[in-house]
Symmetry: D2
Subunit: 335 residues, 4 copies
């Protein structure tokens, strides 16, 4: 069986397919899955470029989708031939958050999905959305479920709500699609007019080039008639948070996802207080939330935007494409 | 000024336009509104046919929409020329339910909107949805807000949820439209194949003629693969509740709205308990919920289904049409 | 190892200790527990008297508490010597309800705890509350967690809320204690002045003998100054529900637990609707809810009321005592 | 009628009782209230020391309690002789937050309660808790309701939860009392061992002198066995927030109230994200929340801690005492 593992020292140049022992047959409660697709996340990039030295030797990639080829005893939820997709937190099945680190996340604390076959507990997967191919299915695990959790689980999004999205990365584009599927109104920012044009084609109601309009927080609020956005999906972090607080309505909700502008920084806490706003930290979501998300996707209204697809053996090139920042939506890996 | 009032004894034959004193100019915090449309509800029919003898002399109709023609001092939310729509509970502005009767509901405990002009506190209205005419706007007050409250406020509806609707009355058709606008999956029942066909044309995913399939609770559950519906909008009451409990999923939600089959009856409480389901009584909603609903409608995705329109002077005929049960959606009154 | 199993046909006379094979050592993820205590529930009585003929040969009793005597590989939450207590739904770990039957409940669908030793997954237990003996700990599993779920999980109980309890069975007495621990105000009914006196000694603020005052729903509402109770813990079922609806406030919450007066009956659904009240079916709760309940009990403010204690070999007599209805609080089984 | 108004320029030295016109009789929906007590908040200190120059001429003090001496037409909630207490946001009656500034807060944007009589809408008051004198009642309006909102409304506090409080100011001491009334476990910090000793006497389970133990965030988490606090009442602001994030559990809740250490500062946003924690900004609460809080206080379990009482004419001295920081609980003003 072929797999990719992180070399020592870690480096994109060392991401090469190598032979690995076959994982064998599934034990009780387990599945054997023939993997066929993954997508890249900012988190994967961090691991693959050595931000986590303890990952030496680990198989990278948090997202994985493929076909069930064998089913262990006691498994009733899946059958041979089912298309399945992995869970970012295989131990977080249900309920309020239980995890605050990546020690059990595939491709970080444990082996990920840059390989041909895995044998894992059935509870580490959900069904894939109907009519999604492996790359599309893989895209739901990290970026998709993050956007779903931010808007739907934490935000209780409803039709008519105003959603502000920062940039056109994987989470933001998923959030755009989810928000439009549920009747919300969406504003989105980017430094690229071309990307904003694409977002508008996907239903964005208001677009803003933050290079042109640096006081974008106020601009968004003005666009809402002074009321402010109900939800902000904050993928930027400290560098954008002050303006997100400016843009959100009194009593509004900011999903804190991002570390793109750093892990720490100046935050106007008094403004957050007087806005009576909620700043909700989150990392992806539970398996049960993924099951609900899959039901929503089974409706067929949306599919992830796949920027491009690389074969597994060109994983390093795919990461380089991610680093370039020129993509729109998800970068797929397919095998 | 012309108006219709309930005669003594109350009877449809006595619903005639008569001259009434003009309400004059608005005082502080009030609006003067030139009314142009209403729609009929089951509740209005009850009042108009004498189920509430204390209503003698009252102006009927809970729904009212029209144009602001004068604004009292201190009113900042509305301006002359704004299109507005009335609130079913003018005293319930916000927050959890405060009212358990109709003593302050227009057309029941207080005068309703079967008249040309009213002067009322601004807090008794919200803006009308953009691009709705007066009849369409009036349709949101009672039936629309009831459906919104059931699914969105109480039910926290999300894309992918399964919604079961009973019949094709005003609340059910609104619920169908709201559910589809938010990406949900909808099953609907009727005794008319023709009405089911229309519902299917509006996006219903599964239709069921309960005259053909009397064990419809089980049929719905089978259709969901045994899981059951997430939400049931129960407009039937005791005569249908047992099957609604059969149809709902474990932990699901039944909105109890209906008295169509009576005010009391046999209920399998043990089945409700073991389903761990919620049976949530509700009557319409608060003004703030109506404001949120209007924002959702401003998106332009849906408009109420108006079965037909009667002029105000033919209100009695309109009620007779309602009694016939042949309508689909709302019966409008226009003047 | 000694155990009690349900004979064939099932009957209290056949509940006798017999020799059973020892369960052996724990496998991966499992615990071996030396059991020392249980308590009786209405549900257990139903099983033990043959309401569920399929239970022939089953070890009865849903509640079980004891000491960990061996720990399987991979178990980190428990250590040898820990006092633990069983879970009513060993498969419902967390999140919204997943189960609507008793097919996996100990003492019903699977073997229960009327035995000396068990080997089960660690996830079928939680830690016992500090300073609780085995009988006291066992009392939390069914009756205690039901009361906690009704008031705290579903009801979001807060200080100052008014709670109405029906009768002085195990759930009601737990609910009384939980409500008082959290600063709520409690009304309780009974047919026995002596039991009401005991409830008053435990902090009940208002007591009512329903044999003396048959219109108790109205009496409770009058006592609240007409506002009504925030929460009703409905252990009676259809025979009491009409008055519970009368007693609850607009927008209030009725926990539907009981089948004491039957599985089905006449319910005034229109009254529930116009009260805008929630009738929430429930069966016990999840393991995570039990963990939160244990944390609350670790504070040491309350302990279950144990009416009396029977040795395991006198289980039949304990059930007869339960049938007599003379107990107050829980009937313990100790070995 | 006597009153105190802010001079020009604003300064504590200019806070002197002066004669003002009597407010006269109440109009429709209004109350005339004879005021007898107030308490000082950090917010009042800011106004009184000129942080808000626009307040020149304004009557200070956000908290006010006294006796109803006349009732306008249409008021049914209050009668002459009732003890009442003011609302921090007289226009925020119910529901989710509506206000993000102090433009309608007594003693800031509008006249406050440093006077003998007021005539105001009945909706600007609630009943005072039973058996509270005027100073005790006044203490609930700002500090008390803030603590209640943080823990009970936003936090859904339950017995067994772990609450971390920073310092022994008015909000923290109220939070300590509310948390203990509802069965929670409390840790509290201070720089004064004497104050910690007093907090322990009021039920605090764990006390920590942050001058001695500067890494207090970790210390609190260690004390919880590594799990972390469920709720942190963050009155410090940016200077303490990093350690509060360290102390909170995964999925926990931090109420952001404080500006004591500044309006903006370095915040470890990535740590908040990976804790999946909620940072909830808030300012006091709605009138309906105050009504619920009063019901909780009517139980009689707790009364505010009044550090000392000054007569109204010594208001300047009372503010100087507040600035010294030596108080524990609330500083009362009585007349």
């Amino acid at each position: 069986m072929k797999a990719i593992a992180l070399g020592s020292p870690i480096g994109l140049d060392r991401l090469m397919l190598e032979e690995r022992p076959d994982p064998g047959e599934p034990g009780p409660g387990e599945l054997r899955v023939e993997l066929h697709g993954s997508t890249l996340n900012y988190h994967d990039l961090g691991v693959a470029t050595g931000r986590m030295p303890s990952a030496v030797g680990r198989v990278p990639l948090a997202d994985g989708a493929g076909k069930v080829t064998a089913v262990g005893t006691g498994v009733t939820e899946f059958a041979v031939g089912d298309m399945v997709v992995s869970c970012f937190f295989p131990d977080w099945q249900d309920g309020a958050p239980r995890v605050g680190d990546f020690s059990r996340t595939p491709g970080d604390g444990i082996d990920g999905f840059a390989q041909e076959h895995v044998v894992l507990p059935a509870t580490a997967f959900t069904h894939a959305p109907k009519a999604f191919d492996a790359v599309e299915a893989a895209a739901i695990t990290t970026a998709g479920l993050t956007a779903w959790r931010a808007l739907v689980v934490d935000g209780a999004l409803k039709a008519g709500d105003i959603v502000l999205l920062l940039g056109t990365g994987g989470v933001s584009i998923w959030a755009l699609q989810i928000a439009k599927m549920m009747g919300a109104t969406v504003a989105i920012t980017s430094s690229s007019d071309e990307k904003l044009e694409r977002a508008r084609g996907m239903g964005a109601d208001f677009t803003l080039n933050y290079r042109m309009q640096q006081d974008w927080g106020r601009a968004i609020r003005d666009w809402t008639g002074g009321r402010g956005a109900d939800h902000v999906v904050e993928v930027g972090g400290p560098g954008t948070l002050a303006q997100s607080i400016e843009a959100v309505r009194v009593g509004g909700h900011i999903s804190l996802i991002g570390v793109l502008t750093g892990a720490s920084g100046e935050v106007p806490t008094a403004a957050l207080m007087s806005k009576q706003a909620r700043l909700q930290g989150l990392i992806v979501g539970s398996r049960r939330e993924q099951q609900a998300f899959v039901r929503a996707l089974d409706g067929g209204a949306i599919k992830p935007v796949i920027d491009c697809r690389f074969p597994l053996e060109q994983l390093a090139d795919a990461f380089r494409h991610e680093m370039s920042g020129s993509h729109f939506g998800k970068i797929g890996i397919e095998w």
